[in-house]
């Protein structure tokens, strides 16, 4: 292990060694280390390759703002783009660097750097145009996708994530100094409070730097410990650690992601992450600030890091990335690092400040002088140089002379920004502060309070005043926190965005966006090409469009642009930070609504019987319906369907039709209501009879169909299609409540109250007479389209004589809790008559043979009853019904509308397919006029060949003519257009 450890650190457990692998090499870190701190401990500074130019990159920061250090976690489903600066290590962790080949040290892609003149800003839009349009799809895009990019998405994994909803009064985002003070002041108040922090240790800057010497006369660590304990013991505040708020939506809705396995290997089948969805009355943003970098030649070399990050590695992780670092700054934020370095005995190799000596904080000035640290005031770094790591820097001093300093590390500070991402997501407005050179929250759009540096309040001495003023709305007691500081309490900065280089070379670049490899030259070029609006410029150059959203650099870009345009930064404006604050995995977003719970499932009351009897299911809406019942694993669907349908035609079959929608309608005006809702007239129907009915939309198109049973003029039961049940009930409710409120009528869904079993086939009567011996099923006592109520072993049932197969049939409606008992009786009594269960595919075949339509398959929302040849179902004498007026529109009465017909292949060995176009010409020319298409198509064991239903233009008048069905291979099959009924046209079977 290296001598870079600061073993007096209290956060790292130096007694607990942890082994992990990076790019196949084994290293050791300690419990509490991030990947970055552990690798730095091992003196590893090269972590990845850049997005476009494949330049070597190191750790630039120590937190979520990191643009460079993205790695693939092989030991966690190969999770890509993980920030090494926040991901904690665990024993056996395997990590790989990204976007390099064949290795991180030797990456062929770095040749891109040599070709950088052909990859300027907006090169995506300028190049790859020719010589042919196919070049993009087949040549350029695959190459670019392979060469550029981030990690590789995992191919096979099953992450487990849950969602957790919260409803609270106040949410505090950030458990640093201000967040803790705010939470403490809310202990045991009437408010329910959530305190959320990304770290597993609350305290923020108190843990990460040496800025604060004491809080209320206690060491920062003692104060944090005592405060956190008080908060934890309170009844009204809950702390969420390891949780990052990523999104601030409208109406104070926050989304936060919690890592459940920080510092340990995620367990299979255990929740890896929880997505918290928080609805809160008030949000307190105390999520701190982000330090900026500076642009100069090769400011991306490994060995360059932000000042506060270097200090965080020392204070929070007990590792010093380098013992001889140079510090370069234009503001007072670097003071704390210098103090920490000297305190630990690693005084900086040099201190360079763009400010003049009198503008540097006196305490810092004295500290540097007292420790004999070479000081360069009024100076700037012109460039950094080295091979895959920093080796030297060139400093232009106040006299204009250029000095070379050999060093392996450089700490930078270009200023600090309030972390306004969440604030702007909430639609809060920002304002430019000319003194502190940053955008600060100005006006909240939602009930949002910003505290501390998140509000742009960088003065430690003003903490009490700000908290007491802003939290007065909660009626809390005034807070009085006493802070002793090691550094100056105020923030001071002098403008510096970029240092221009000594000389330009192809290799040397001055970056403004490290993640997307955008250079300051790109910004200049974009402006020279007219992209001077900040949102245009962002998209043209891709500046701040990476997964880090330019957290350390976007303000610098604004500064450079404002200088180039000679405008104030406020006039240039700022781009909008979009959610999420940091990338979220799809697994976290999906939560448990994936895999086995991808879609809620509805099951019929006898679902388990179907499973036991080998049913193969199909999804119909959310219902699981038996599709077919193979007799063994070798039987195909086609074979099973041929067998099942033949059995229904020859013996009998039973279908579980429980999924059909069922609606009970009752009221004094039920008859009038039904006459208005459906096309049919129910006025002359006798109680105890039923009728096939059509429901239309206001446009006159078929919306649903079903059978209406009339119990009395004041009481009906309607069935609907499986998929249309909710729509039909909703439609009935809507019309009853809004269009015809004068009608006294109510309706309830009874879909799930009753199971429905459809028995049909020539032997049906034999079976049903055995099941219900007390019922007289003769034609005289129980004619077609009538229904009766009976008691069966104390169970009230309803039997309807109807058929959807063309065979004689009955539908039995049974209370769901009794369904299995009666189904098993039917199966048992039917055995001797050859009764077999059949599935939906057989049902479709049988009904198509009979010419019965399926709404949604043979109709598509543009078909009227007349198009289907169902004009006999329209109550012509009715004064009104839903869709009536639309049926006499010129478009709905024109002759050449698509109409339902039957289709038979001339050569009976030919196979037709659903969706095939029907055309008149044998040869397919372009364009070929299309008559219509096949909506249903089956191989009929009864007919012995293929047949189909189709909707074709002017179809009814084309019956008897020849046409052609086109195939995807541009061939045609000769067909005959026929009547859409292929079985028992005289209905003798139904009435048998």
């Amino acid at each position: 292990m290296s001598d870079l450890n600061l073993t007096d650190n209290k956060f790292i457990q130096f007694h607990q060694k942890i082994g992990f692998k990076f790019d196949g090499v084994k290293y050791y870190g300690y419990k509490g280390d991030t990947i970055a701190s552990a690798l730095l401990r091992n003196n590893i500074k090269l972590i990845g390759r850049s997005f476009k130019y494949h330049r070597p990159r190191g750790f630039y920061t120590c937190g979520i703002e990191e643009p460079n250090a993205l790695v693939q976690i092989i030991s966690e489903y190969s999770e890509p783009n993980t920030r090494a600066t926040i991901k904690k290590i665990y024993e056996g962790m395997e990590i790989e660097s990204q976007n390099r080949w064949p290795s991180l040290e030797t990456d062929i892609g770095s040749i891109n750097n040599m070709f950088s003149p052909v990859f300027p800003a907006g090169f995506y839009y300028k190049t790859f145009m020719g010589p042919h349009k196919n070049f993009w799809k087949k040549i350029y895009e695959p190459i670019i996708r392979k060469a550029a990019g981030l990690g590789k998405p995992p191919k096979e994994f099953k992450a487990v994530s849950t969602h957790l909803y919260h409803n609270v009064d106040i949410t505090i985002v950030g458990g640093g100094l201000n967040g803790l003070i705010a939470a403490k002041s809310l202990i045991d108040t009437k408010f329910s409070v959530l305190l959320i922090d990304f770290d597993d240790r609350l305290g923020g800057i108190l843990n990460n730097s040496s800025k604060v010497q004491s809080v209320n006369n206690q060491t920062p660590m003692d104060w944090i410990s005592e405060t956190v304990k008080e908060i934890e013991n309170s009844k009204n505040i809950k702390i969420l650690r390891n949780t990052l708020v990523t999104t601030y939506n409208y109406i104070n809705h926050l989304i936060a992601i919690e890592d459940k396995f920080v510092g340990s290997r995620p367990l299979k089948d255990k929740v890896n992450s929880t997505l918290h969805k928080i609805r809160t009355d008030q949000v307190i943003l105390s999520n701190g600030h982000i330090e900026r970098f500076l642009s100069f030649q090769n400011n991306d070399l490994p060995g360059i890091m932000l000042c506060s990050s270097f200090e965080k590695y020392m204070c929070r992780y007990g590792v010093i990335p380098s013992k001889e670092t140079v510090v370069f700054s234009n503001n007072s934020n670097s003071e704390s690092l210098v103090f920490s370095l000297i305190k630990k005995g690693f005084k900086p190799k040099a201190y360079i400040d763009s400010r003049s000596g009198e503008n540097i904080e006196p305490d810092l000035f004295d500290l540097i002088r007292k420790n004999d640290i070479p000081l360069y005031t009024n100076s700037q770094i012109k460039g950094a140089y080295g091979n895959k790591k920093l080796q030297k820097i060139l400093v232009e001093d106040s006299s204009g002379g250029v000095n070379e300093i050999k060093t392996d590390f450089l700490c930078l500070s270009g200023g600090i920004n309030p972390d306004v991402h969440l604030f702007t997501q909430s639609k809060g407005l920002l304002d430019w502060d000319e003194k502190d050179l940053t955008y600060k929250p100005a006006q909240a759009f939602q009930p949002t309070i910003t505290l501390g540096s998140a509000s742009g309040q960088f003065d430690f001495n003003a903490i009490n005043k700000e908290i007491n003023e802003k939290l007065v709305v909660f009626g809390i007691k005034p807070v009085q926190i006493k802070l002793e500081l090691n550094t100056s309490h105020k923030f001071k900065i002098e403008k510096l965005w970029e240092v221009l280089p000594q000389k330009q070379t192809i290799w040397s670049k001055s970056f403004i966006d490290l993640q997307n490899d955008v250079t300051t030259k790109d910004i200049r070029q974009a402006i020279s090409e007219g992209f001077d609006r900040i949102e245009h410029l962002k998209r043209y150059t891709t500046n701040s469009m990476g997964t880090d959203q330019g957290k350390i650099s976007s303000i610098n870009a604004l500064g450079i642009v404002s200088d180039l345009l000679d405008k104030k930064v406020n006039e240039v404006g700022t781009t909008i930070y979009r959610p999420p604050y940091a990338p979220l995995s799809f697994a976290a977003i999906a939560g448990r609504n994936s895999y086995e719970y991808y879609d809620p499932e509805r099951k019929s009351p006898i679902h388990n019987w179907h499973i036991s009897n080998g049913a193969v299911f199909e999804d119909v809406g959310q219902w699981k319906r038996p599709w077919y019942f193979p007799i063994n694993k070798d039987e195909t669907m086609n074979d099973a369907v041929q067998r099942e349908s033949k059995n229904v035609r020859e013996n009998a079959g039973v279908l579980d039709g429980s999924t059909l929608g069922k609606i009970e309608i009752k009221g004094k005006d039920a008859l009038a209501f039904m006459n208005l809702i459906y096309t049919n007239s129910f006025s002359k129907m006798k109680p105890g009879t039923s009728r096939y009915a059509l429901m239309l939309g206001e446009d006159g198109m078929v919306k649903d169909d079903g059978i209406i049973c009339k119990i009395s003029d004041e009481h009906f039961i309607a069935t609907t299609t499986t998929g249309g049940a909710a729509t039909v009930l909703g439609c009935m409710e809507e019309y009853a409540q809004t269009e015809w409120p004068n009608l006294n009528v109510y309706m309830n869904s009874i879909t799930e109250q009753y199971a429905t079993f459809n028995i049909s086939g020539p032997k049906t009567r034999n079976i049903i007479e055995k099941v219900f011996p007390e019922v007289n099923f003769s034609n005289e006592a129980f004619p077609f389209m009538t229904f009766q109520f009976h008691e069966y072993e104390d169970t009230p049932i309803r039997i309807l004589r109807a058929s959807f197969t063309g065979e004689m049939g009955y539908e039995i409606y049974v209370p769901s809790n009794q369904a299995l008992k009666i189904w098993e009786k039917i199966i048992s009594f039917g055995k001797e008559f050859g009764l077999k269960p059949y599935g939906t595919e057989t049902m479709h075949l049988l009904r198509a043979e009979k010419g019965y339509i399926i709404v949604g398959q043979d109709t598509d929302g543009s078909i009227t009853p007349l198009d289907l040849g169902l004009d006999w179902m329209i109550g012509k004498s009715k004064k009104d019904f839903l869709g009536k007026r639309s049926l006499i529109r010129s478009d709905t009465v024109r002759k050449d509308r698509k109409q339902l017909v039957g289709i038979l292949p001339t050569n009976k060995n030919e196979k037709l397919e659903e969706g095939q176009h029907i055309i008149l010409d044998k040869e397919i020319k372009t364009p070929t006029p299309m008559l219509g298409h096949i909506t249903s198509c089956y191989q009929s064991p009864t007919l012995g060949h293929n047949f189909a239903l189709a909707v074709i233009k002017n179809g009814q008048s084309l019956i008897g003519t020849k046409a052609f069905a086109s195939t995807p291979e541009l061939k045609t099959i000769e067909v005959e257009i026929v009547e859409p009924i292929f079985y028992d046209k005289e209905n003798t079977k139904l009435a048998s």
């Binding site: 919260h166 409803n167 809620p600 019929s604 799930e752 109250q753």
Partner: protein, 173 residues
Amino acid sequence: MKDVIRSNGIEIKKIISQQIVLRSSGNSEFNGVVNKALKLLPPSDNLRIVTNDNFILAKMSFDQWNLVFKKDIEQKKFHKLCDTFNKSSSILATNLTDSQIFFQVGGENATMILNKLTHFDFREKSFKPLTAAQTLLARIDCSIFNLDNVILLSCGRSFSDYLEDRLIDAVNL
């Protein structure tokens, strides 16, 4: 009643209760019929619940009341009660006993675990005792009844296996 799960500070039981859905304008005739049959005056405020030893009666919308039986009664008596309501042509009483499944949820972590499945605000100030709600739970329509120290969830029978699985999953994960 079937024990679904008892773990992690939550106890869930699955119940099939007799239930009738009543539709009416809520006029005095309706109030009279209901009061006479149940010895309960139907609540007039939406989502309010009234109870006695035998029944839970909740107003679920402006013209709908759900009547849940605390104790099962004989089928004949039950159907007779339905008929009593249906005698009035301004009332539609539908037996939904086989249509809805109830889950009785109790325990100190009940609402926290339910909040893995629904955004619904269970805090007392938002969801007072003896009130009801209709919302999504695990992405399906559910009714929730707050009965003092226990919560009653109901969903369509066809979804009940799915919801039971989701509840167990939420408790275990």
